[in-house]
Subunit: 457 residues, 2 copies
């Protein structure tokens, strides 16, 4: 008698960007292997698209992650939850009692919103953002209708994006952030201010330097009625979104005896292989991330980073087909509020100096089309940060129009290939009146950085 | 008595992108030097913006190149034409009789449209595109009004862009191209076909594989009435635009005894210095271009390449402030017809194989936002070409939406930094639903290329 119900070569636990990308890559690069992905949800949502369900897209069904590429590559999807996994027997037990035999296990269990131990957090109308179709659909169809005023705790990316989307529904949105500025952990001051100004112009009420002491009940003692701030002020609100951060889901990995890093992720090598077992890998939010620059922990949990880790693991599950290990997180991200796009790649000036880099920087503002009379022209602001000793690019911040994220991706590639200011200042970039700035902003900002540097005594 | 009327350290001859960028850079990097730029025109137009004067922008004044950055950097602009220059005396004689003493001369005299010796080319209503304010303004206000049908000879970038802009004026545009496809010299077949289909849908009549035997007069024997094709067919047209190509303007350089390359440009080293005289430089369309890959002549004359050469020369006029020489042209360019953007960086599959590279390629089609239900989503098609021996990226072609040119600029940076397929397949790229594809198209196309390659026996 067989001691398991399902047999597979590769078992991927989790269907987010890391798991799915790992699955697609594994199925493509190891076509003779059977690749199975198990996830609790019938339908998976696109995580970065979640804020847009509530405004731009208008529905949860508009934000579904496709399963077609994985199935087309020959992969198989199971719906279910893993209760435990045995590294010696190389099996996993599902909550429904089925047993799966695997040869390579990829843990891609993601992360869960962190809810601080704040008074009133269990009141009805208080919610977080879970990457779960049913949860989000209920939020959209039951929690939000009728809400006129809503408070968001946390002015990071999720808070800011939700503020812009929820205000599109006519909700009066209050954004509460402990730091002096929104997005303060990610950007230099001018970008934070630009976002604050745009959100304010759109009607979002911003409360920075403010801490929430309690979430309070309204007339119905079971339902939220408002929040109380640390300065004693109160704010009425029929709903509260907690968007403080997320924590890696590592119960399965911990139970299996895998090492977790101090910051909470599964400890992995450059090919996403676990420390204890060459047959077990971890990718995405649940995996420990080293910083590209310092090798310390990098706490940014990004879908794009997760996907990159999924690809690296997928290609190398049965030997090195892609002999380039994970070079560490450089944290490239962008967002857009209204028409204002903004983002960062690598280090900001402040974060670079905090780490101990001696830096030189260049700033440039220019139109993103040329001549600036072209329709659709936005102002572009690009700041580059170079290490003063090696002259290498270590970061950049861009504020602009629809091309902002791809300009950041140029910086991401330049950082990863260790480009120097001299390289970038003399590089060729294409330009076109309807598509780009007259001079490439990266070239212009690099030129400015070099010029300033030469001026110094 | 002084034997000259004007004295300057740096004299730049020509006010196009190469000259202007050289001037700005020189003034910024050598602040103690006096930088003078002389150009024949009072106001300079943005060369890449010229087609848009006739449609999108609606006027020549909307396409003026700013002089402010150069003046702000401390440069000076003279209006006039250089009649001759003396390398021994280091002076230049203007047509108006003034004499300028210089210490560094930068020749940035650009290029002129090539007009083949075709019958009827001197008829009224036959024109080319000169980068000259008055000429273009006359074209707009006198030549084009009343024109109902127009033939464009040459289906390259200029022909294609003018076709799209002129049809916006209600003109019936006929585009005549000798090769089997529009843009056939620059793109692989699928991009050519995509552009042809879009132009046809917009009402442009395309005649490929067709040669014009003569431009013929109409009822007025001095004015154009149509064209006669090589197959004997005729076409009525009240105006004819000749957009076959351009030739470098090297009269001044030739008269000064500088070496010209076989392809006609001023021979320069990697810092744009002339062969004969370390005090004389040449940049832009009038300078010889080496190809990044082969070191043979590269005949693509691009404003962006010209600007890069201007920067390299400007920084290094009095010694090497930027010790990175011109690595050779990789030819990055993009354009947009209607909403369809398209472009190329480096080699196409066909051009790479013509040169003798053994290649492997990867193709991907995906939405440029995610989920694809996001407003403003365009389909993106990315093809990458890798050298099979070194695994290095040597080219890419992109067809897509507004981010197309910046995606090509990522490829341009990756080519110039000699990225390999292994690098690109595992790189981190940022993503955002409103700004990018779900997986970066460069990563996806690289993955596809590697996968196909591994499949091969």
């Amino acid at each position: 008698m067989q001691d398991h119900d399902i047999e597979t070569d590769v078992l991927i636990v989790g269907g987010g960007p890391a798991g799915m990308m790992c699955g697609i890559t594994a199925a493509q690069f190891w076509p003779s292997r059977h690749v199975t992905l198990i996830r609790p949800e019938e339908e998976a949502v696109v995580p970065c698209g979640i804020p847009y369900i509530f405004g731009t897209l208008g529905g949860t069904d508009e934000d579904l992650a496709g399963r077609a590429p994985f199935l087309a590559a020959g992969g198989q999807i199971l719906t279910g939850r893993i209760a435990s996994a045995d590294r010696n027997a190389r099996t996993a037990l599902l909550e429904d009692g089925r047993r799966i035999a695997w040869n390579r296990l990829v843990i891609a269990t993601g992360s869960t919103p962190f809810v601080p131990p704040i008074e009133g957090r269990d009141l009805q109308g208080v919610f977080e953002i879970h990457k779960d179709y049913d949860y989000l659909d209920t939020l959209l169809s039951e929690t939000l209708p009728g809400v006129k005023r809503l408070a968001i705790l946390g002015g990071g990316f999720i808070g800011v994006e939700f503020a812009d989307e929820l205000r599109k529904r006519g909700i009066e949105v209050h954004l509460i952030e402990q730091r002096p500025h929104l997005l303060g952990a990610s950007f230099d001051l001018d970008a934070c201010v630009a976002v604050e100004q745009r959100l304010t112009a759109l009607g979002v009420r911003i409360h920075t330097g403010a801490t929430v002491e309690a979430i309070t009940a309204g007339t119905d003692p079971k339902r939220v009625g408002g929040i109380r701030l640390n300065d004693g002020g109160t704010l009425a609100a029929e709903a509260v979104l907690i968007a403080i951060g997320t924590r890696p889901n590592t119960t399965l990995a911990g139970d299996m005896g895998l090492t977790l890093s101090r910051s909470g992720g599964v400890w992995v090598d450059g090919f996403q292989q676990s420390r204890e077992d060459p047959h077990v890998f971890a990718v995405g939010d649940c995996a420990h991330k080293q910083d590209f620059f310092t090798r310390h922990a990098n706490h940014a949990l990004l879908a794009s980073q997760a996907a990159a880790e999924g690809r690296i693991a997928g290609m190398n599950l049965y030997g090195l087909k892609l002999p380039r290990s994970n070079a560490g997180s450089i944290s490239v991200y962008a967002s857009q509020i209204d028409e204002l796009a903004f983002g960062v790649a690598g280090l900001t000036e402040a974060s670079a100096e905090n780490i101990g880099f001696e830096v030189f920087t260049g700033d440039i503002r220019m139109p993103d089309h040329h001549p600036a009379t072209m329709p659709g022209t936005h102002e572009l602001h690009c700041r580059l940060v170079f290490d003063a000793n090696s002259e290498r690019l270590i970061g950049g911040q861009v504020i602009g129009g629809p091309t902002t994220a791809e300009i950041l991706n140029i910086l991401a590639v330049a950082i990863q290939l260790r480009a120097t200011a001299t390289d970038l200042a003399s590089f060729q970039f294409g330009s076109h009146p309807r598509l780009t700035a007259p001079v490439h902003p990266i070239v212009a900002a690099t030129g400015e950085a070099l010029r300033r540097r030469l001026e110094k005594p």
